[in-house]
């Protein structure tokens, strides 16, 4: 889940990969493979980095690089997004294919192809993995085949004859269990071997005679033009196939455009006529090539796989029945969500209080220190009452729920539950004429909406991808959860604590999230009927095997990463915001503070929405990070009231009530928190992912408009009914 700097916040907004080698003798090794076979796990183990892993296909959507040293030699490993084939369909598959074909741009200019490729296979699903292996071998003879998940295959009663596989493929084959770090030394040995030694001569798939004849005619012509950049036979097969995205990438990566090359086009035309006469049109050719690859993979897998016991997926099928069936699928999903939220709320209470008392104790000591040093009042005010105090609020209110929610959510992710959510919810997306994988991007949105927006690359259809991008913000990210939890606790459940109360809070929060999800369906449907008209396109969704999460690792990583990340962001954004608030509250213009001027200006409009000027201003100032919205509200109220001790939710409740908060204010603030503009990072990410200012504006305006409408409606109705 979006837990580290690389996938949350600014990291999610990084552009295309630029290879960074620290020396000319560092080798570049690409890690390719089907989705969800453990590429990122291997990458992390070898590089010591923390690229995200998760038990669902499509976790990695952009190339990532990392360094490792093996036997004194340096390597740059590139973790590619999962791909089923090199005849790419989607953005992230194109990223993988283009890296294998043309390499990556290098720091200091130029491009560099990988010195070797590692194709990671799933031992328990070898046949399909081999399809990609065979395609890669056509493109990259210096390839090592890594048969990963050996432990899982063994548990299912499958064994793989690795030596036999190596003989059949003509390249080194290494068995690994990346989850336990087994076999990875041997893998790097093999990588060193294929780079240092002579290029292996891999097995070549033989296509039907007319296809082979056509490729043989075209290849020599291409060989002249491509040199040793990419194998001519492979390029010939792709040109015959007329893969438009590959042609574009080829033109971009080299100075040669096959479409304007007269000789090539002439030859192609002639070949195509020959093929047509032989009864092979373009579609038939494509089918023949694909079917031959599948057939070859089937033969090889059949020769090297031994199965000890026949039924392997029984446990998974039983779990699927519970988690996705008509009777239990949706109830179990809601129960799991509520359960995770309950644990979050119940678990966050105590640390939250402890942190608050600790941090405010420190504040008193700081005040004492400033007094002792005879520091001027304004300095104490700006630093302690401004910067320090807002930091303290961010840490004490925001941090504990996040530090608990994330590990829990990551456990579900590692278990393999997220694709089942997509499976269960797909029918609704189908009715909204959107893609079922949108559910996966929404799940990522719980972590960070920017990460969710990047994750939308797993959706092939541009129309459906845009819908997913525009609606991602309807899922509250971790920066908004704690605000919602705090308000629910203070206004609807009571702050007394106890398991019953946190259960009620969890149910209410579940309701808020369900509202967000339902709105996602509606808005998606609306977009499908208006600006993004169209019918749903075909897609496939893989349901991976259930896997036991590595609990210790998940908990340590997500708590540590999350903690560091939040503290970093709090320091970067909340501190200056605290300073600004303090200055605003203390600089007087015409008898009123700047703060009063601002909030006074916003107040009439905000009241219409059931909010007040302070709340609306906090949302505006919270544009860089949702985490600071609630702390700013508190700060703004505190700066205008008498300063007393505020450290618990109870004190806060009194503070808010003292500033006119009613249940309606609470409801509208929650609604607005769920439904308002995406944070600045998310907006930037949408800008980069869509490449369009217009759509970025739409991503900003859509949730804002919905939120304002919802608040206005609720506030007006409540007032008309005399309820508030």
């Amino acid at each position: 889940m979006g837990l580290t700097h690389t996938s949350t916040g600014a990291g999610a907004a990084e552009g295309a990969l630029v290879l960074r080698r620290s020396g000319p003798d560092q080798r570049v090794v690409a890690l390719a493979g089907n989705p969800n076979v453990g590429k990122s796990t291997i990458f992390n183990y070898l590089t010591g980095l923390r690229q995200h892993t998760g038990n669902w296909p499509g976790k990695t959507v952009a190339n990532a690089q990392g360094r490792c040293t093996h036997r004194g030699r340096g390597y740059v490993l590139v973790d590619l997004p999962g791909t089923y084939s090199l005849m790419a369909h989607s953005a992230e598959e194109e990223a993988a294919r283009d890296f294998l074909c043309f390499g990556g741009a290098e720091e200091g200019g130029g491009r560099r192809r990988a010195d070797a490729a590692v194709v990671v296979c799933d031992a328990a699903c070898l046949e399909r993995s081999l399809n990609l292996v065979l395609q890669t071998l056509e493109l990259m003879p210096r390839t090592v085949v890594c048969v990963n998940l050996m432990d899982e295959a063994a548990a299912r009663g499958l064994s793989v004859d690795l030596e036999g596989l190596s003989r059949l493929l003509g390249v080194p084959v290494v068995g690994t269990s990346a989850g336990r770090g087994e076999g990875l030394e041997a893998l790097m040995d093999a990588v060193e071997g294929v780079i240092q030694g002579p290029a292996p001569v891999p097995c070549a798939v033989t296509y039907p005679p007319p296809v082979e004849a056509a490729a043989a005619q075209l290849a020599p012509i291409l060989a002249d033009r491509l040199g040793d950049r990419i194998p001519a036979r492979w390029a010939a097969l792709r040109l015959l196939d007329e893969d438009p995205s590959l042609l574009a990438a080829l033109t971009a990566a080299s100075d040669w455009n096959p479409r304007t090359d007269g000789v090539v086009q002439e030859t192609l035309l002639r070949i195509r006529m020959d093929l047509e006469r032989a009864g092979v049109d373009r579609l038939a050719l494509r089918d023949a090539v694909a079917a031959r690859l599948v057939g070859e993979a089937e033969e090889i897998a059949g020769a090297v796989l031994a199965r000890r016991n026949p039924d392997s997926g029984g446990r998974d099928r039983r779990l699927d029945r519970i988690l996705t069936s008509r009777a239990t699928g949706i109830p179990v999903m809601l129960l799991l969500l509520a359960g995770v939220l309950w644990l979050t709320i119940a678990g966050a209470n105590v640390p939250s209080d402890l942190l608050a008392s600790g941090l405010f104790w420190v504040q008193d000591r700081l005040t004492g220190l400033f007094t002792y040093l005879n520091a001027p009042d304004w300095l104490h005010g700006a630093l302690v009452l401004g910067v320090y105090r807002v930091l303290a609020w961010v840490v004490s209110v925001m941090l504990p729920p996040m530090a608990i929610f994330f590990p829990l959510f990551t456990l579900l992710e590692d278990f393999g539950y997220l694709p089942r959510v997509a499976f269960v919810l797909d029918h609704a997306f189908q009715k909204a004429r959107a893609c079922g994988k949108q559910a996966l991007t929404m799940c990522m949105g719980f972590g960070c909406n920017a990460a969710g927006v990047v994750g939308c690359r797993i959706i092939d259809s541009p129309r459906e991808r845009m819908i997913a991008i525009l609606t991602n913000n309807f899922v509250p990210c971790n920066g908004r959860f704690p605000t919602l939890i705090a308000i629910i606790t203070m206004f609807f459940v009571g702050t007394a604590g106890g398991p019953g109360r946190s259960l009620l809070s969890a149910l209410l929060l579940t309701g808020v999230i369900v509202l967000g999800v339902v709105l996602t369906f509606w808005i998606s449907r609306l977009l499908s009927a208006t600006a993004l008209k169209g019918t749903p396109s075909a897609f496939t969704l893989e349901l991976p095997p259930y896997r036991r999460p590595r609990v210790g690792q998940v908990v340590v990583r997500s708590v540590l990463d999350r903690t560091l990340f939040v503290l970093g962001r709090a320091a970067a954004v909340a501190a200056p915001a605290g300073l600004v608030i303090w200055i605003f509250a203390n600089v007087q213009v015409g008898g009123l503070s700047l703060l009063d001027h601002c909030t006074g200006f916003l107040d009439p409009f905000a009241r219409l929405l059931g909010l007040d000027g302070v709340i609306l201003m906090a949302f505006l100032l919270g544009f860089p990070a949702n985490e600071i919205v609630f702390p700013i509200i508190i700060m703004a109220y505190l700066s205008t009231g008498t300063l007393t001790e505020f450290s618990s939710l109870e004190d806060l409740h009194r503070l808010l009530a003292g500033h006119g908060w009613t249940w309606l204010t609470a409801v509208c603030t929650m609604l607005f928190s769920l439904l308002h503009w995406p944070c600045s990072t998310t907006c930037l990410t949408v800008g980069r992912e869509t490449g369009s200012f217009k759509w970025t504006l739409a991503a900003f305006a859509l949730p804002t408009a919905v939120g304002m409408a919802a608040c206005l409606l609720v506030a007006t109705l409540a007032r008309l009914a005399g309820l508030a």
């Binding site: 079917a291 699927d320 069936s325 269960v424 969704l541 349901l543």
Partner: protein
């Protein structure tokens, strides 16, 4: 002797052999990548709460397809292991 139908009509637990893939070019290619070519054996393993999509075991991996997509794949039903299909 086999019964011709589409993949969408497969009941949970039933197996069939693919006879023809009629999907459009992009989906066809995706299905081929997943190993779903004529001659492949598939088993329906689950249906979502609404009945659509359904999940199919294809060459060792479970893949979910929507009804309208599965409806473009013609299959012939295979007899159930102990049954009389």
């Amino acid at each position: 002797m086999s019964i011709q139908q589409t993949l969408a009509a497969l009941q949970v637990g039933q197996s069939a052999r693919v006879s023809q893939v009629e999907a459009g070019p992009a989906m066809r290619r995706r299905l081929f990548d997943l190993g779903l070519i004529p001659g492949t054996q598939v088993t329906c393993t689950a249906r979502s709460p609404a009945g659509d999509p359904a999940a199919y075991l294809i060459r060792g991996a479970v893949v979910a397809l929507r009804g309208r997509d599965a409806g473009e794949i013609r299959v012939s039903l295979l007899p159930e292991p102990g049954g009389t299909a």
